[in-house]
Every structure is written in C-alpha cells, then in structure tokens.
C-alpha cells in the first residue's frame, strides 16, 4: 500500500488505535516511575525519510533510542526516542533517585532504559492487538545513544525498499513537573498497514 493514498477515515482509525495504545503505555510508564505522566494525542504522519529526524529534534541531536522489532503476521518497528537529558531523568525516576543524579548512561542505566522501552512497547502492542485481533511478537529491546538520524536510519532502511516515506505514529510522553519527554514511534513494514486496516474493516 502506498501510504500517500490513505483515506481520511483510515487515518482517523489509525490515530484512534494509536491513542488507546499510547494511553495504556502512559499509564504503564506512570506506574513504573510512580509519578504522573502525560501524553499528547498521537500524531500520525506520512513523513519523507529526510524529515524523520526533525521529529526527534534534528539530525544531529543526541538521543537515546530503544529499538524493538515486531514480528508475526504484521511486522513493524517500534522506536522509543528521548533526548539524552530526559533519558537520564527517567532513569532517576525509575530508580527513585533525585532528578539530576544520573549524568551518564552506564550498564545499569542502559538496562533501565531498555526495560522502559520494553514495557511501553508491550503495552502499546497489547492495545493494538485487542482492536485488531492480530498477534504481535516483540524482540528483546536494543539501545543506542547517538545522533537521531543515525538511529532512525536503521529503522527506515527496513521500509526503504518500498518507498521514500515512513508512516510515523508518534506519541509524546511528558513527566508533568520533571520536564521529561520522549516519543514512541510505530513504523509498520510493507503489508502491515493493510492487515491492521483490514482487521478494523477499513481496508
């Protein structure tokens, strides 16, 4: 399917599915860190490859990215991206330390971030699965801390044999007082969008 040919109704449906998934993910994150986490209404965009990193603060912005590969009948990539200072703050919250304690990401901090990505993705996919009756299997999380463009290139390469655009379903999470933000991206592979839309009766 050409992303560019999605109808407004299909876009709305995808946004709504994303909304429920992200809502559950925000609740899970909030329970993990013991604080209120807000989320915005998910943005659905069909974005040219060269503009994807603009959604992550710019090509050379230093970010932490947790990548999870989704396999099964509807393969996709999930990427949780957050600016480095937000990543450090989130680790502090998770470990019950005063915000500002973590300044570098070591082995323990890496595990914490991977686990956060894992739980966000798992919650998100469970909601998606409930709507669509599609079973998603998720890989173990992998983490990279580097320039935004370098991180997203890996994910975009997986959909690059079909076109030059990625469908981004983006939800921004914010820790109310802590100035922490991160975005969760769902990037469906070829065929996945049709399956999701078909299961919603909108193919």
């Amino acid at each position: 399917m050409n992303f560019l040919s999605l109808t407004p109704m299909q876009m709305d449906a995808l946004r709504e599915v994303g909304n429920v998934g992200a809502g559950n993910a925000a609740t899970a994150l909030s329970e993990m860190v013991g604080r209120a986490i807000d989320m915005n209404v998910p943005a659905l965009g069909i974005v040219p490859f060269c503009e994807v990193s603009e959604h992550m603060g710019g090509a050379e912005t230093l970010v932490a990215g947790v990548y999870i590969c989704v396999t099964g009948e509807a393969p996709a990539s999930m990427l949780f991206v957050l600016p480095l200072d937000s990543a450090c703050g989130l680790v502090d919250m998770l470990m019950g330390r005063p915000i500002g304690t973590t300044v570098t990401i070591g082995e323990m901090e890496e595990s914490a971030l991977k686990e956060i990505g894992n739980i966000l993705t798992g919650t998100y996919l469970r909601a998606l699965s409930m709507f669509t009756q599609i079973t998603f299997e998720q890989s173990v999380p992998a983490l990279a801390i580097d320039m935004a463009e370098a991180i997203n290139s890996v994910v975009l390469a997986m959909v690059a044999d079909v076109g030059d655009h990625a469908l981004l379903l983006e939800t921004e999470f914010k820790g109310a007082a802590q100035n922490i933000k991160g975005s969760l991206f769902l990037i469906p592979q070829e065929g996945t969008l049709e399956k999701i839309l078909a299961s919603l009766g909108l193919a």
Binding site: C50, A142, I145, M147, E149, A150, M158, A160
Partner: protein
C-alpha cells in the same frame, strides 16, 4: 557555502562549496572527488541493491544505482571520469541484538555493495571509515578533497 545532502539523496558541488551529510548510521556517505576540476559529489545511500527492492525509482537510495548517477552528474559539472576518486564513511551497526539477523547487518551489506560498485566503475577507494556501532556526520572539502568525520564520543577524524 555548505550543500546539505539528506537521507536517500545525492548532490554535487564545485569548490568552494562543500558537501555534508549528517548522522550516517547504517547508511553510507559515498564521496567522490575530482582533484583537478575541484568538483565533489556526495550520495547518502540506505540500501545495498536496487535489484532487491520493490521500488527503485529513487536512484540515490541504493549503492549500486547511486554511484553511476553521481559520476554522471559530476561529469555534467565538468569533472573527468578518469580523475574521480572515492572516500566512504558510515555502515555502522547501531543496535546489537543477540543472534544478529541479516536485517541488522545492513551496514556491512551497504559497505560491501558500495565497494563493489566503485570497483565496477574503476574508481579508486582512497579511504574507508565504515563499521562500528556509532553514527557519523561527514563533510567533503571540495578544495582539498579531505573528508572530515565527526562522531558523538569518538572524536573527529580527517581522511
């Protein structure tokens, strides 16, 4: 002046305009240079082979199709094919998974395909900064032919 090249794109420039591309991960920056005409070309490729793709309309996206197009564009600008030399950077493996799949080895496969493509066109490869698990931002100086490589925490390098 700095000419920016985005992902899956290619551009040429004549000195003193330099060429740059930011945040190469598994992608590869192919830098071609004619030292006499002082003309450079930079392609930011994402995938090794157009023949394996569903859609190969964008020639700049693939190692095998980007090189000939880049050479043609440089010749149009006044470069001579026999003088063109190459430097490449990128092709990292950003994420490490246990039991790494073929998809995750995309950086290596890109590098192999670029090297083969250059060989096929008899373009000497003067410098190769590929692999690792970190991103690179590169800038080709079209006056000197030097390639500047920046990383987040592995310093800078000029090749």
């Amino acid at each position: 002046m700095l000419v920016k090249v985005g992902m899956a794109d290619l551009k040429t420039a004549k000195a003193p305009a330099n060429l740059m591309t930011a945040g190469l991960g598994s992608c590869i920056g192919i830098c071609l240079f004619d030292p006499v005409a002082k003309i450079g070309g930079l392609a930011h490729i994402m995938l090794p082979l157009s023949t394996q793709a569903r859609s190969s309309d964008n020639k700049a996206k693939f190692a095998d199709t980007a090189i000939p197009v880049l050479v043609d564009d440089m010749i149009k600008l006044g470069a001579s094919k026999s003088r063109i030399v190459a430097k490449i950077a990128g092709g990292a493996q950003m994420f490490a998974f246990p039991g790494t799949s073929d998809v995750m080895r995309i950086g290596d496969r890109n590098a192999e395909s670029v090297v083969n493509g250059l060989k096929k066109m008899n373009i000497p490869l003067l410098a190769r900064e590929t692999g690792g698990n970190f991103g690179r931002t590169i800038e080709l100086n079209t006056t000197t032919g030097m390639l500047h490589i920046r990383t987040v925490d592995r310093g800078e390098k000029v090749v």
